[in-house]
């Protein structure tokens, strides 16, 4: 068959031979270019998926270690004394009132919970307070550690009256809903 095709090709006029060759070469170039683009996308996706699967495999392999780490961390807590979101807000209101901080603003943030463990963060904000009352509040909150903890703290002088302060804190509580097995 090859000999037949060769014979047919060689008996064509020169312009026909050139035209056929040029068309074939254009076809090859076009297909190669198209293939190269798709192959590059495939290789990139493949590489990304390989990395993601390897990452997932690492996490899955560390599952029991993570569970043990969580249980170990939770072992320092008595489940009866841990606070849920509502109890945290109530506790902070009490501490603020006893520290001389009036009308604090307490907003609940996104909880983080897994099975029997939960972390309840809130944003605690007070305005126009003295540094001393703020120190009293922070010390009182720290007394409740590790059940209540300050994670972020920001204080600034009030623009209208620099003698007083505005403060904002991210305070979290730990809740253990069930006993550690």
């Amino acid at each position: 068959m090859i000999r037949t095709l060769k014979g047919l090709f060689l008996t064509r006029a020169l312009r026909e031979k050139l035209l056929l060759l040029v068309l074939l070469l254009i076809g090859v170039a076009y297909w190669f270019s198209s293939f190269l683009g798709r192959a590059t996308i495939f290789m990139t996706e493949q590489s990304h998926t390989t990395k993601s699967l390897a990452n997932q495999a690492r996490w899955i392999a560390s599952r029991s270690a993570v569970q043990k780490q969580a249980e170990k961390a939770a072992a320092a807590f008595k489940s009866d004394e841990t606070l849920d979101g509502t109890r945290l807000i109530a506790a902070l209101q009490n501490i603020a009132a006893s520290s001389g901080l009036n009308n604090p603003s307490i907003n609940g943030l996104q909880d983080l919970s897994v099975e029997q463990f939960a972390v309840h963060p809130v944003q605690f904000t007070v305005t126009k307070v003295s540094f001393e009352s703020l120190v009293t509040f922070v010390n009182a909150v720290q007394q409740r550690n590790p059940y209540i903890g300050i994670e972020q703290f920001q204080v600034m002088a009030d623009k209208a009256n620099p003698a007083v302060l505005n403060a904002s804190m991210k305070i979290s509580s730990v809740e253990i809903t069930k006993g550690i097995p």
Partner: protein, 387 residues
Amino acid sequence: MCASPLEILRAGPPPPRVVLLPDGLFFIRSIPVTLDGEGTEGQTHEQQVSSQVEFALEASSPFPLLNLYYGHFWLPGESHALIYASYRRRFAAEQTDSWEGADLICPAFIAAAAMSVEPATTALLTSNEGITAIHWTTQKVPQKIIFQAVAADVTDEQKNEIKTQLLKNFESLKIVEITSASQASWSSTEGEIDFSLNETKSTINAVGLRYADVRDKGELAALQKAKARDRILWNGVVVAVGCFALLALCELFLIGGGFWQNTRKIKLNIQAPIVSEIMNRQEVANRINDLSTRRLLPIEMIQAISPKKKSYSIYFSSVATNGLYGLTVEAQTPNASEIKNYENDLRGIPACQSVVIKNTQSRNNITTFTLVVTFTPNAIKPNAPTP
């Protein structure tokens, strides 16, 4: 009706275009050849024979070579060559115009001369113009060729008489009669042409074809160049088709790879919630661990770097914790010269791991700056609880 592509492929390659000229138009002689070793003086045996043929023709022909159509038939190892020539004007312009693109143009007897025969064989080649007697002695190249013109209206008996007269010129042990016109076809070996003569076959190789051709030698050289160029073009076509096949193969791999990749993506999606849950658990564990083991001590950190300890006229306008052990302080002072001393004092505090002062600006005699302090972990101790 046009043949289908399948029929064209089945039919095989188109036959070579061979123009067999009447033997009677040619002056035919056998000449001895002497070969000077293989490849000496840069000439092959074929080239040496070709030179000797041209010398012989120049010596025996009344016309210069430029006015002749000539060629020769020789096989490697043979001690003589068969030369033939014809005056160019014996061929009409219309006839020579039709030769364009032909693969071979030679006298009709050349097809039979290449036959493999026993010693002392004579072949009688009958054509419309006459009868050609080809006689071999012990060599593969015919020793003598005689053409006898025959009128169109002669009877078979008269033809037989002519043949008998012709055979009397040779001492023949075997006589082969060839009555049908020879059919040319491409040989299985590249560049060779096979001739079918009655029951027998003859083959002329590519080199033999080049020297057997009677056309102008310059024209033949140009034809050889064109054929070489066509072979390059054909090789280009083969490479291009090969690339197509390779690309098709690659496409198959890509399709297969796509299925494999889809399977992996499904696995990735199935595992995603499990991994997300483990990561969540890890984060919770870290947060619980941080709350239970590490305490943020913002008041203690502020008190540790308070400028009031040395009565600097520096005031903090805002303080923000940066992680467990970092403080970012926006401060201002009416006395810019105190900033450097204050920085040096802070560097002297053992609990301070690093002190950076940046964004220093002055406006209306008030200099503002940003103080970034990082404390050594666990260097700051909590204040004693208030009773």
